[in-house]
């Protein structure tokens, strides 16, 4: 008989720094590390942030080494007297600090390469706890350290995210996978939805969101966009993929073409790909979104292939002069109207010599609203050679939220047409 023991590999993350405790910085390290650990089957069971206080640091290290298999520390590895992590590890583990020639050489080379004089202080970073495995820092001077402590592992990493991240990606992940051989895989899939309010998405997939067992479902709203996340934990990769794909298909059957993409895909990326594929070009005329749509479209590398021109016609003069909107039309219907938005779309299409034209006119607020045309009212028109559609929207939120939602709606109209 085979007895399989499921050892849960658990981790604590400890972030050290007064600047975190004062709320000066948004600590993204804990999230980054937790996500990475989760992807290799290691469960984070506690994230702690503490000040640069040796008593607190030492007791936190001891406590976390008792309660979990792996403890990852970030911060406090710099060259100044405020950086106490190495000294605290030494005291928590009762290990001497020894001078590392390897780290010394690496720090000296760092300064030499940059043609800078090395401050004497920096050599403090070369005193590391006995038995530590060094991870050299490709960007800064603080080394990362992997320190086996009986059956547990203590890992100390720099607090600067772009120095910490490569260490986690390579050395730390490989070391932990090799050391603990986690028996479970955790995998996530994000389904991205637009054009429906959260409550409606919720309603349509309520039963799916309640699936439990080795599945965790999540729904996360963003302006004009909803993410549904499926996370599956299992020992078997095939099971994980099968479960994800089964749930994914169920959701697709319910939400159909409101789903615009998966995982990290953005709406502007999806629209861009489809324009590239169909070899269609695009020009846009924006009023209330003030350039945000052009900006999002041009955030995609290679967008110059399909994006011809953007006009931000903020004033009525601009609408008349550049986009040839007759002043009479503006007076008769108002700048925020179906008529003006449709003309903006058509005229910018002709002006840019492109296949598709988009026109957006609305009121982003906080000023400028009236009873008849309140803040958040936006008209979005899409013009093609023989066709023009225009939709009316009412968006809630502050100025930047309304701008964002309007560009989402415009991109979604492009995606669907």
């Amino acid at each position: 008989m085979h007895i399989i023991i499921f050892m849960e590999i658990s981790a604590h993350i400890i972030c050290i720094g007064n600047e975190i405790m004062l709320g000066h910085i948004n600590n993204t390290n804990a999230q980054y590390i937790a996500r990475r650990l989760s992807s290799i089957g290691i469960k984070t069971i506690r994230e702690i942030s503490i000040p640069d206080d040796p008593v607190v640091i030492i007791s936190s290290i001891k406590e976390s080494l008792t309660d979990s298999n792996i403890v990852i520390l970030t911060g406090g590895l710099g060259p100044t007297v405020d950086d106490l992590t190495l000294e605290c590890i030494s005291q928590a583990l009762y290990r001497k600090l020894i001078f590392s020639k390897v780290v010394e050489n690496h720090i000296k080379a760092h300064f030499k390469k940059r043609k800078l004089k090395m401050p004497a202080n920096n050599l403090r970073q070369a005193y590391i706890p006995e038995g530590a495995k060094v991870i050299l820092n490709d960007i800064g001077t603080a080394p990362g350290l992997i320190i086996p402590a009986r059956k547990k592992i203590l890992i100390a990493l720099p607090g600067v995210p772009f120095e910490m991240q490569p260490m986690i990606e390579k050395d730390v992940s490989n070391f932990l996978k090799d050391r603990f051989r986690p028996d479970k895989i955790i995998k996530s899939r994000i389904i991205k939805i637009t054009g429906l309010p959260e409550s409606e998405v919720n309603e349509k997939i309520e039963d799916i969101l309640k699936i439990e067992g080795n599945v965790q479902m999540g729904i996360y709203p963003h302006p004009g966009e909803i993410s549904v996340k499926i996370t599956v934990t299992d020992q078997d990769k095939k099971n994980v993929d099968f479960t994800i794909s089964k749930i994914e298909k169920k959701i697709e059957a319910r939400l159909k073409n409101h789903i615009f993409g998966y995982d990290n895909e953005t709406l502007e990326e999806v629209v861009g790909k489809s324009l590239l594929k169909s070899k269609k070009s695009l020009s846009i005329a924006e009023s209330c979104t003030g350039g945000l749509l052009a900006n999002r479209i041009t955030n995609i590398p290679g967008s110059s292939e399909y994006f011809k021109m953007g006009i931000v016609a903020y004033s009525n003069e601009a609408k008349t002069k550049i986009l040839n909107i007759p002043p009479k039309t503006i007076t008769q219907y108002g700048a925020v109207s179906k008529n003006v938005a449709s003309l903006m779309a058509k005229n910018v299409r002709l002006l840019g010599g492109s296949d598709i034209g988009i026109g957006i006119s609305g009121i982003a607020g906080p000023g400028g609203g009236t009873k008849k045309k309140p803040v958040g009212q936006v008209y979005i028109a899409l013009s093609k050679k023989n066709k023009c559609v225009c939709k009316e929207f009412y968006f809630l939120g502050q100025r930047e939220i309304i701008k964002r939602k309007a560009t989402q709606a415009a991109l979604d109209m492009m995606r669907l047409h």
Copy 2:
């Protein structure tokens, strides 16, 4: 003889949620709460994130109530069975959960207002620990709770940031100030700098950044912008203001007009104010920044007063057709050149009938660079009636970073001219 006892008011923040432990969401609540507490003189000494596990939640509450005066919990107050916070508080404090009519009515009104049927589950949120003071939720259904526990205070808040934040701003801050009358004031001032690399700012104010005692200095780089933060802790408000203003003046003397603003001010806001004040109007023509500059300018409410028009001339045809750049000029000097950027600035100024014109042309990458004109090379021109200046820049970074840095540089040229 007077003996003054300095009681340090300390807080623990506990964030509850499996989605944090998996790294699915960036937990911004801890930072938000810590910053707000710090501004009213309360020191956060520990931030913890833990999973939706009742054993862990109960032991964390007990531990934190032992180690600090104030414990603020977020998350786990929703209507589903996964939401365990109320039950766990009840067990940790040995208090019964009692049904609150006030909360019940509030939840019912919430659904009625939205013309939605209330799921029966939602009334779970009305069972609150005995002795709790309720903070009604203006946005969702989960109430906030302030629970005195002997000499300590336990506060439970919703995990959704925009439901939690108004509660912290009003009810929680006022309650804590009144209850603890913190004897120390912590105040911060941010000085915002542009047009200098971080190393140069560092060098110019190195000695100031090392000031210690009741002062904490910080330097934080962002693309095209550096924040220097002064934080002073003292019992006396006058001392705090005096110390901040003394350090501020020192920094101003060193960095002069590289300082563009303070605290939450943005560069687009500063430029907008100055345009409003001088009654000057603005039009812009962008190539590589693809609408980001227009977008940033129009993020400022009231920008329609001074912003006339933006042209995103991505293709050469657009540059020729809309901005009247002679094809010969483009062929001779290239689209990315001093000549083209200067003509873009001049012609968009004339086209928009505005006082100032901005032209930006460059290579945002990742494609399109050559040895002679590498990715990151950007020309920015500013045209006024009798004057045109054009500057050449080399920005490092990815596409969106280069776009951001280029708009920072353009806004800074506007600010200085």
